[in-house]
């Protein structure tokens, strides 16, 4: 099975592993069953006294079935999850060059700060008088975000980047409604290189998505935007720096064209990491931009989340921010949780409470630690590191848009693999054997077999040099026809290549008790 870009989804033939063990374990690599296979429903790892009986108030709605949830004692739980953790690769394990995802160092100071009882152990609906410090923290984070982006307003509540896109595009939709143009202004321009969340968000709230093709050099051509923009244009969703790792050098002109057509400029700020302290989106004509605190400001990705996606807004959109927000009157903070009759915004809440407080604390700790000077240095180092990787690999791997300066990530395609029998995916899997997490592969979709490398500012030169030497060694192996090193990889990971086709064809999405085995006939 292959996908559109030739990415195999079914592994090849099995390879017998040498030196089998009785347990299947390999020293520190322990095979670990599911909790359902060794937990017992009568085991409790939390001591709690049975309450004295009361006359229940359940009105006959007491649960009748058994749930089947297995329990583990504390030592069993500890060992189970530690063993699972050992099958995972994290930033703390090694270089994690996942383009677009910004896998930078996660300082533990931030974890400590987020766990202060004054932040972790407060309820979102406590009286405002009892959470003045929390509201002050949100206000201070908002100040940093506004200063760094040069935008006048920010909404903190979105829970991740895609949720921020929703908030920003919803504000745009509300602003268009306020102009009485809902019926006619409903097209959103989205470049082909955009992340999938951009078109998905626009479509989710009823916009029609029109694609903007990239020009030869991987950026968006304002002339192309001008051709597509008109009285039906609600907005453009432009990622800048874009997903090819390039700064959209005509961004100011694109903003002008969109504004002239009466539309708004939504900027996907997932790649803000490259330009913090170097340029301000507010100066580039942006009307709304989400910031992934879990990328640029280092809140841990946690195996897929949680994140946080505050959205900065221009004056034109500030009135259309969703509820709630923090207000300061005479030195006292309060939360505005309901629209006043006089409010312009028809937008209500997008989430139950005020946003990802745990992430706000971590992000602010990160900002305070760096300071304005450190954040600028971090951007410069991130860009320097990516360009260093580019410069050291450009002779072996193909750069779809030529060997020119990139931002914080460098994009290669698979032209250099053509005819070698090795695909982008194979190359990525061979990196696993070398102890690296692969780069982002097959994204963005505008180049074939994409490999998007983002080293981040957290890597030392020595670390980059070894990484580069490794990729060069792999590239030479491709040239030398050592395809087995790639097509069968990974050989040394906790698992060999996994059968994705089978997973999708016969989905097994939960554990179920095995059917009882019939007694063997004598």
């Amino acid at each position: 099975m292959l996908n559109r870009q030739g990415r195999p989804t079914t592994p090849g033939a099995a390879v017998e592993s040498a030196h089998p063990t009785f347990t299947g374990n390999r020293a520190l690599q322990q095979e670990e069953p599911l909790i359902f296979e060794f937990g017992r429903t009568d085991v409790i790892g939390v001591d709690l006294d049975e309450p004295a009986p009361v006359a229940d108030r359940l009105g006959g709605l007491k649960r009748k079935d058994t749930i089947g949830l297995p329990g583990l004692s504390e030592p069993e739980a500890m060992r189970h999850y530690v063993r699972l953790s050992q099958k995972n690769y994290g930033i703390d394990t090694g270089l994690f060059p996942l383009g677009s995802c910004t896998m930078k160092h996660n300082p533990r100071l931030n974890e400590r700060m987020a766990r202060l009882p004054g932040f972790a152990d407060i309820h979102p609906l406590q009286p405002a008088s009892t959470v003045q410090g929390a509201l002050a923290l949100m206000d201070e984070l908002a100040h940093w975000l506004k200063e760094l982006t040069g935008m006048p307003a920010v909404t903190l509540s979105p829970k991740a980047g895609a949720h921020g896109e929703l908030a920003g595009m919803a504000a745009i939709k509300a602003a268009i409604a306020a102009r009485g143009e809902t019926a006619t202004r409903n097209v959103v321009l989205v470049p082909d290189s955009a992340h999938g969340t951009n078109p998905a968000t626009a479509a989710l709230i009823g916009f029609t998505v029109k694609a903007v093709p990239a020009r030869e050099d991987g950026t968006v051509d304002p002339a192309e935007v001008a051709k597509l923009a008109g009285p039906d244009t609600a907005a453009i969703m432009l990622t800048n720096p874009n997903t090819c790792g390039l700064f959209e050098r005509d961004v100011v002109e694109i903003a002008r064209v969109i504004h002239e057509a009466g539309g708004y400029f939504y900027c996907d700020g997932a790649n803000f990491n490259a330009i913090v302290g170097k340029a301000r989106p507010g100066d580039l004509g942006v009307d709304a931009m989400h910031i992934n605190l879990h990328k640029t400001f280092s809140t841990p990705h946690g195996g897929g989340g949680p994140g946080a996606g505050p959205v900065v807004l221009s004056d034109r959109l500030a009135a259309f921010a969703p509820l709630p927000y923090v207000r300061l009157d005479d030195g006292r903070f309060s939360l505005v949780e309901h629209a006043a009759v006089s409010d312009q915004s028809p937008l209500g809440r997008l989430t139950a409470f005020h946003g990802q407080m745990g992430m706000f604390v971590r992000a602010l700790a990160f900002m305070l630690s760096h300071g304005a000077d450190g954040l600028k240095q971090a951007s410069e180092d991130a860009v320097l590191n990516a360009n260093y990787v580019r410069a050291c690999l450009a002779d072996l791997m193909s750069l779809p848009f030529g060997n020119r300066a990139c931002m914080h990530e460098v994009l290669f395609d698979d032209a250099w693999l053509k005819g070698t029998g090795v695909t982008t995916l194979d190359f990525a899997k061979a990196m696993i054997d070398e102890g690296y997490h692969p780069m982002t592969v097959y994204f963005p979709l505008v180049v074939h077999g994409a490999m998007l490398i983002e080293p981040t500012e957290s890597e030392s030169k020595a670390s980059l040099d070894l990484f580069i030497a490794t990729l060069r060694d792999l590239a030479f192996a491709v040239r030398d026809g050592d395809t087995a090193r790639f097509t069968g990889a990974p050989y040394h990971a906790p698992r060999r290549r996994l059968d994705e086709t089978r997973a999708a064809r016969q989905p097994v999405l939960r554990w179920t008790a095995p059917a009882p085995v019939a007694e063997a006939a004598e």
Partner: protein
Amino acid sequence: MRYLPLTDADRREMLARIGVATVDELFTDIPERMRMAAPADLPRAKGEMEVERHLGAMAARNVSASSVPFFIGAGAYKHHVPATVDHLIQRSEFLTSYTPYQPEIAQGTLQYLFEFQTQVAMLTGMEVANASMYDGSTAAAEAVLMAHRVTRRRKAVLSGGIHPHYAEVMTTLSDLAGDEVVRLPPDVTATEDLLAAIDDSVSCVVVQTPDVFGNLRDLRAVADKAHAHGALLVAVFTEAVSLGLVEAPGAMGADIVAGEGQSIGNALSFGGPYVGLFATRQKFVRQMPGRLAGETVDADGRRGFVLTLSTREQHIRRDKATSNICTNSGLCCLAFTIHMSLLGESGLTRLARVNHANAVKLAEALAAVPGVKVLNETFFNEFTLRLPKPAAAVVEAMADHHVLAGVPVPRLLPGAGLDDLLLVASTEVNTDADRAAFVAALTEVL
């Protein structure tokens, strides 16, 4: 700067290798006049001690739940989280990993997600669950969108017992998508006539149990009528611990279950991050939003797990995706699944009994305070009081007595004429002394 490994010598060497003289030559695509001339007007770098001092002072200005008798619920609950949970979720390999796009080196994440999905399915009495949404409210809003896809209708009926914030999230999203929402008026005593609102134009009926006022709701009659009209029942909950004692929505005919999982394993954290639980029936799985972990085998035939059915998702399907969600609540799922494994069936059901018993004791004690009335016939660990004075003022006054008493209903529903109602929750953390403090403070301020 302690987080940046490059030295100036490294930087010079690297610039030379790249073939530029200064780092600014790498930023020339940014139009010159748009480059920041002066650094942002923000403080300079700080060491760990200074950051701790700065943030510590802010934290100290908040009253933490553990420091006072605490009875606030309404969508987020103060529970005890075992030390093991917090230790394990800080394991580097969990904390600093990404979405498991490379399954061979992400089996840890994928296996716990598979375990999480199974636990959520069991708990809700459903067949399948996803790998989480942002929180209970966005899970509920996504459930409505999913019901529209399944039924090809675009009208949701919301019970008046739904948490007002959840109803607002569902309404906001439906308004944006151009879908219809019929929101019934606040239903303090669970006496609304939901059945009358169901007809052939309805895509789904959304009911919360325990509802925001604490009442337990029997969903069976609503499910039957919804199904008779080709509509789905979406069941919502905000207190996951209730499922240890109360009938599962799946057993009462729910087609989609959307709930908040914060209560298991996750801190209050002023409202986030939390973890949205989302479960449904097997036959609707291809209309589900969000990531799914599934079982498969590797090239050597060994069991392993991958993200699957991703043709539903934005990175493949773009504007035709079932949802725009990408980053979800991964680490909060891990906290949930570890805490749930420590509890197991026996621990969860006992925890639920303790919560219920504590709430019953509190309700009895408060009902004896002159002028105070408990409005609920039924409840799990939260109920509604009618006070002889505006609830907001009472809560403020009680905070001055160092008791955090609950959520005044007008905070959630201003202008609804419910100013004298107070939502009160009691969990396993409350002691007899806490209850006595509540009664004393309330008696004092009334």
